[in-house]
Subunit: 314 residues, 2 copies
Amino acid sequence: MTDDIRKPRLYGAIEAGGTKFICAIGDQHGNILEEARIDTRAPAETLARVLEYFAAAQSRTAQLAALGIGAFGPLDLNPASPTYGFITSTPKPGWKNTDLAGTLGRALRLPVSIDTDVNGAALGELRWGAGRALADGRSPTSLAYVTVGTGIGVGVVHHGRPVHGLMHPEIGHVSIRRHAADGSFAGTCPYHGDCLEGLASGSALMARTGRPLSHAPADDPVWAIEADYLGQLCALLVLCHSPQRILVGGGVMQDRLYAAIQARMLHALNDYVEAAQLRGADYITAPGLGAAAGIKGALLLAITVGDGLLHHGT
Amino acid sequence: MTDDIRKPRLYGAIEAGGTKFICAIGDQHGNILEEARIDTRAPAETLARVLEYFAAAQSRTAQLAALGIGAFGPLDLNPASPTYGFITSTPKPGWKNTDLAGTLGRALRLPVSIDTDVNGAALGELRWGAGRALADGRSPTSLAYVTVGTGIGVGVVHHGRPVHGLMHPEIGHVSIRRHAADGSFAGTCPYHGDCLEGLASGSALMARTGRPLSHAPADDPVWAIEADYLGQLCALLVLCHSPQRILVGGGVMQDRLYAAIQARMLHALNDYVEAAQLRGADYITAPGLGAAAGIKGALLLAITVGDGLLHHGT
């Protein structure tokens, strides 16, 4: 007990993205003590650098208790599967069928908890961020976390647990209805063309307008188009998941979008779902942890390894 | 213990629909011992007849242990809400803001567990029906139950628990993309016009073709249209919920639709989600409990009152 107070339990956390791996050491209260950025190259090279970081960190600080990974996917998250913890069918060159959790866990001899980056972020927001107020101990706790960046990812937590099943949700790739002013744009998704990600991600915005949304003039129709697409997403989340709150972040998001997204969500729902909260100023809001949602989510995955709420490999 | 063997624990179950209330007495093994059908009229009249049935049943058999209700909605399922167990914003005349669970529970002095009819059916299928094989004790257990009748309802279970949040899912009302051969049909949903229910429910089929699907000639384009819409729904369920299996039942369903729906689901996903199960013959299948899924689901709600897995009122 005395020992616990002197030396906080330390955990490794990885936010594994298509562009960079953020590696960090954190404690059980959600504090990130140190952090490093490693560019995402081929798996062997990238994972070797990740292992170097954690080996050095363990020799500097203390033995870590566990490793949490929030990763791009798709991932195999079925603990009964022989490829549990693998990145599976990603279009990212070289990364298909990469044993992410197993490789790192075996080399570092740590228990590993892995989930999608967005499921991890949703858990982190629920524990330490904009979802904290939702856990009143009586209501079912459910939260959706949306990130609109190069791609679009959505994590969902119900009853305090991330949604898993056959695999995990891939809500960024749902079909939406085309905005009338967006008629000629084919969309950028290599699988679906004009799915949500193909129409509303940062890549789609760049392909459609040649500049990021933040650089578009205030009267450019792209603002209304983007708000409509993300409003359709939020309406879909209400119909499919009924979350108590929807957090929307990522590099594409701008302050003026939130109210516009909510208006388009309400337009799409057309009063079918009667819940006063849908009209509240905090129903669709920014992540409380900001850009740290991903790495803090990965830290929480590490902290909750083996507590029965999350699956883990070894 | 001896007493338990002689007298099985009995439960009341109600499948509360817009056309009829099925009331039943069942045991802890899922057997329905007796059943009655009560036409759905105004709430006071309907609930009075429901109460008569259960009062008589209790005097004939034994004190019931609990009451389970699977109901049409929308429902307030937040146990912290003052209107928990109410039917809320239904367009059904007279039924808006009806305290379904409270009225019956107080009059019968029974603990009540209430959920949507489709969430109840999904739980029942998982315990006794076509979802039994999914619960292997290791994988996360998730199942979607779709009923295509007058309307379209979808229940979803994750980790063995029905999805609740702000309210409950209303997946029947999602937007889908219009089939090219269905261009001129406006849709029948009073809220959304051409949402899924507005285009693909039994009411929509009657409005579009003047006859039920089962009476359409084999070469009528309506078959391809219906399969496409339900295939879009299944693709959406895979992307949003990643269920291990999708059960599709209800009065509209015909045997030849299953393979066609699966083909349209795979077309919509376009290999983005790589899971061999999606191509399996049992991924999209009929409910194992058939038409009894709803009432057995309500029975299971009663059985699990107070076991910590489901919320309940008193």
